[in-house]
């Protein structure tokens, strides 16, 4: 058995870099990454069978329930190679699989020399995996193509081996075949990691340089910083220094994850582990920064990462206005763990006090919202997501618009909107319908490649706003669920955009304003007015619902005045019942929002605002 008892395995701070292999797993959601990781934990003996639980490394409830990984992790696995019989240390750095978290993926990649490209051999490669594969190749990582789920009856390893080999540039027979579920082929994979992935290189005698690839807030221990040591050595009780800020920290604990944290005598060249300094704010231990020692600081930082830039914005409001301070505290806490989350207070006439929040993408938005509701017990309403616009007014003044209500009311010279390069993978049957969708969404075709006889990669340039609006849902339904999407921001382009306002009884409902392409303004107006007519209960007066561009009305619906809201009978036995009903309605009243004189139930806002987010959550939920 090639597993080595932990105590006898090479120890941290005393492991020759030659014995170390740092790798990550690139895979799409549901392609079995966490199951394979679980299997590796078992086979290498770091987790005993009786302590095993599914998706061992996914710690957040949301991660486990949705079957996705949000935060990366690093686990130290001892392994005795079945090929040369020598002992090795494998550091498995877990990576998120979703497009929103490309940023986190790139962090993980920078800490590795190799990557396992894991593909479900019943489904083939997905667009996001492809994007991450390209990212890994750009980082000069050694790629080990692996076909997973070979135990499935629908498995087509031959077909997908050809596809993978084309992408990676190897022979189909070089693709390993494993089953995370049964464990079949996993030992061979571990051996191949040792054989194919180069050991880390670094100078043990140079000043210490370690790259921060993750920084996580833990209630008990404060910020836990994950690092990969490149040169030199970090030791316990040593003063460390952050290169970018020069701030010095006491090192309270240093160790490795295996897969629970274990303190160590330090970390040497090529090793991956954690640092605890007692700081409470992840921003003081910034991802991408270089850690060095105070007494012998380095002069050259490692190349870090770009700060993640929020791409999608949405207003988050507590349904119960009293929960506003709780929402603020909750966002503060989440930000400790999620440097990509930005927010600032915002007031909506319709929704009250809340925050305008910036996210990496739609999934990120969904997850933040879900964590706020679940971990902080808040009930929230969120506005339709939008992107950031740069609007130049007639006099040349530029306005950054992250909320449609900030859109200048006067004449506008030009509007710049973010655009992305989108990659769509799909069976060839759906090329026509995908192209039609992308054309509708103002896309420009950049090219198309056949991955295999019946699978195609289609590349488009699209405005991000079009993707944010229901694109993924459309793609899934048009491709019967087979299409997959990845996108990356590539800059800005001028767009013929207008702001459409929705008015209830002449009052603009800021939460429903949207910036859309001029040609889409009318359909948007009709869609919203029709929807609201269904959702808003009849009032004691007629309520016109209008969609307008500036002062110009483009669509209109009417909610007729209510005619009857009274119970005909009220005698002795009815009085208590009636009063109790009234008391119950007092509760319901809290959930009503007033727009001018119009009473709008929260449910109407939620229903009118929910479509896009729902589509997005459908994509990750299994």
């Amino acid at each position: 058995m090639p597993a080595i008892p932990l105590a006898k395995a090479p120890q941290p701070a005393a492991t020759n870099p030659e014995q170390i292999r740092n790798f990550c797993i690139i895979a799409h959601i549901d392609h079995g990454k966490s199951t394979l990781a679980d299997r590796m934990l078992g086979i290498t003996g770091v987790v005993e069978a009786r302590n095993m639980r599914a998706q061992y490394l996914d710690r957040m409830d949301i991660e486990r329930e949705r079957g996705i990984t949000i935060k990366s992790q690093a686990v130290r696995l001892p392994w005795k190679s079945g090929i040369d019989g020598k002992e090795y240390i494998l550091n498995m750095i877990d990576t998120p699989g979703h497009v929103d978290f490309t940023y986190e993926v790139s962090r993980s990649l920078a800490a590795c020399e190799g990557a396992i490209l894991l593909v479900d051999c019943a489904q083939g490669i997905e667009a996001q995996t492809l994007a991450n594969l390209y990212l890994a190749m750009e980082n000069n990582l050694t790629i080990i193509p692996v076909l997973n789920k070979i135990d499935l009856p629908a498995a087509q390893p031959e077909k997908f081996a050809i596809e993978l080999s084309k992408l990676v540039g190897c022979k189909p027979e070089d693709c390993l075949r494993v089953s995370g579920k049964t464990g079949n082929g996993v030992e061979e994979l571990l051996d191949q990691i040792v054989a194919q992935i180069p050991p880390p290189k670094g100078d043990p005698n140079a000043s210490a340089r370690a790259l921060i690839f993750d920084s996580v807030y833990d209630t008990y221990r404060g910020v836990v910083t994950y690092v990969r040591v490149v040169d030199g050595h970090l030791s316990p009780r040593e003063q460390i220094q952050m290169f970018s800020t020069g701030v010095k920290h006491e090192l309270l604990d240093i160790g490795v994850i295996s897969p629970e944290p274990v303190s160590s005598k330090g970390l040497g060249v090529g090793e991956v582990g954690y640092l605890i300094t007692g700081v409470k704010d992840v921003r003081l231990s910034r991802v991408g920064d270089t850690v060095t020692t105070f007494h012998k600081p380095t002069k050259n930082a490692l190349s870090g990462y770009k700060d993640p830039k929020p791409m999608v914005f949405s207003g988050l409001y507590p349904i119960d206005g009293d929960e506003y301070p709780m929402l603020r505290d909750a966002l503060d806490k989440l930000q400790l763990n999620d440097a990509a989350l930005v927010y600032e207070p915002e007031t909506s006439a319709a929704l009250g006090f809340g925050f305008r929040c910036g996210f990496l993408g739609l999934l990120h938005m969904e997850i933040v919202r879900e964590r706020l509701e679940r971990e902080f017990n808040l009930t929230l309403i969120s506005t339709a997501p939008n992107v950031v616009y740069r609007v130049t007014k007639e006099g040349g003044e530029e306005v950054i618009v992250t909320n449609p209500s900030e859109y200048p009311s006067g004449k506008v010279d030009k509007v710049l909107e973010p655009i992305v390069r989108a990659t769509i993978l799909s069976p060839t049957d759906f090329i026509g319908t995908i192209m039609e969708l992308c054309q509708q969404r103002r896309g420009t075709l950049n090219g198309m490649d056949y991955l295999s006889e019946d699978r195609v990669e289609i590349r488009y340039t699209l405005p991000l706003a079009e993707i944010v609006f229901d694109f993924f849902d459309q793609l899934k339904s048009r491709t019967k669920g087979y299409g997959s999407l990845d996108y990356e921001p590539i800059g800005e382009a001028e767009g013929d955009l207008v702001k459409v306002d929705i008015l209830l009884q002449g009052e603009t409902v800021d939460a429903f304003s949207s910036i859309v392409h001029r040609e889409k303004a009318y359909p948007y107006g009709v869609m919203m007015t029709t929807k609201l007519r269904e959702l808003i209960p009849r009032q004691q007066f007629e309520v016109p619902i209008q969609a307008a561009i500036g002062a110009k009305i483009i669509a209109r619906e009417n909610i007729r005045a209510i005619r009857k809201d009274v119970l005909a009978k009220c005698y002795g036995g009815d009085i208590t019942r009636k009063r109790k009903l009234l008391e119950k309605q007092k509760e319901g009243k809290k959930r009503m929002k007033m727009v001018g004189r119009v009473e709008v139930p929260q449910e109407a806002f939620i229903a009118a605002l929910s479509t896009n987010a729902d589509a997005e959550s459908g994509k990750v939920k299994k």
């Binding site: 009274v566 009220c570 002795g572 208590t576």
Partner: protein, 391 residues
């Protein structure tokens, strides 16, 4: 028995009596009242059922007496169920018991609800002798197919006959109940019902929009799609038509579902709305005295068992807080033509009500005289206005 507050003054409190008769020949599909058919009660015959039941009611009246002490009784109302199903002698015993235990006012209003089919001239004559002076008749509709949907068994012609008989026997006040908005009722059907009612020698009309109560046969039929409830707009039109017709015939609305000729108002029902005290005797009946409201156990059998053991038949009791009372004041008083004085409203309620003045839901003239009174259209949305004012 409830320990209720006794009036501190030497003047006796006033206490109205509601006497529940929980029996019907047949249960109507829309009705959620606490009624039972003789078959359901497996009684040997109605006369015996009645005698035993009335014994229990009289015992509860005695309990009321020891609980409240002396009180003046301005009104008695026999409701149900179908009081006219009972032998008149039994109902007369109840009146005697109240007269014996309390001070029955000289001008007391004593109402009997009757079914046009089951009421006999003899019954009417006997009850008149016993002191009853007001008849309330369940007419519901003049359209046979509407009555059928409602499961009513009476023949429309019997209504006129029964009203005539009541008049002949010296009943000062006769009222009919109408129901509108029954599935399948056309506007013409409703017109016929309204006209038929107005052709009768009556001085009071109650007209109710049909309510689909949970758990009724009607609710199940609607849920299954066998019956389709009319739109609110249609029902509202029927209300406005009825109001107009009644007013034209000399009836004035005094509560949003009740119209009367001058002096024909039902004083018993007004007692429910103006915060007076009332004692409901019989299973499921509600009572209000002091700051307490309570209601009796629902099933006649358990009710009688409790009484037989000299135990209180009360199922549950609530103590009304000042806030409860304030809410009830608004929700009841707003239904009345009398309306609510500005001096009885908080300043925020007055300003909340302003918008209903401008929307035409409150009567402008009354408002100018510092009084909140619903307009015709306002009556149709009374519950909504209440919500605005008290929430």
């Amino acid at each position: 028995m409830p320990r209720v507050e006794r009036s501190r003054s030497n003047v006796s409190p006033r206490l109205s009596f509601y006497v529940h008769i929980p029996y019907c020949v047949k249960r109507c599909g829309y009705c959620d009242f606490n009624t039972y058919t003789p078959a359901e009660l497996q009684g040997p015959d109605l006369a015996a059922v009645s005698a035993n039941y009335i014994d229990a009611v009289i015992q509860e009246i005695e309990m009321a007496s020891s609980s409240v002490g002396n009180a003046e009784v301005p009104t008695i109302f026999f409701g149900g169920g179908t009081p006219s199903l009972m032998p008149s002698a039994d109902l007369a015993r109840v009146i005697s018991a109240i007269r014996e235990k309390f001070e029955l006012a000289n001008d007391a209003e004593i109402t009997i609800e009757v079914n046009p089919d089951s009421v006999s001239e003899q019954f009417l004559a006997h009850m008149r002798e016993a002191g009853a002076n007001r008849i309330s008749m369940g007419m519901q509709s003049a359209a046979p197919h509407v009555l059928e949907t409602l499961d009513r068994t009476h023949k429309p012609v019997n209504v006129a006959r029964a009203v005539e008989q009541a008049r002949k026997n010296g009943y000062e006040h006769v009222s009919v109940d109408l129901i509108y908005g029954t599935p399948g009722e056309s506007f013409a059907d409703w017109k016929t019902s309204v006209e038929s009612a107005l052709a009768l020698p009556i001085d009071h009309i109650s007209a109710y929009a049909l309510i689909v109560e949970r758990g009724t046969k009607l609710a199940a039929q609607v849920a299954r799609g066998e019956l389709v409830m009319p739109s609110d707009d249609e029902t509202a039109e029927k209300y406005l038509y009825a109001d107009e017709s009644f007013e034209a015939a000399g009836f004035t609305w005094y509560e949003l579902s009740n119209w009367s000729k001058p002096g024909g108002e039902c004083r018993h029902n007004i007692a429910y709305w103006d915060g007076s005290f009332w004692w409901g005797a019989g299973p499921g009946a509600h009572s209000y005295f002091g700051s307490e409201r309570w209601w009796n156990i629902k099933h006649p059998k358990s009710y009688q068992e409790r009484i037989a053991k000299n135990e209180s038949p009360i199922q549950e009791k609530e103590n009304l807080t000042p806030e409860n009372k304030a809410d009830e004041f608004i929700l009841l008083q707003i239904r009345r033509r009398e309306g609510i004085l500005h001096s009885q409203m908080s300043s925020s309620q007055i300003s909340l009500a302003e918008k209903f003045v401008s929307s035409g839901d409150l009567d402008r003239e009354s408002w100018a005289q510092n009084k909140l009174v619903l307009s015709k259209n306002g009556r149709l949305i009374a519950d909504r206005i209440v919500r605005e004012l008290v929430l």
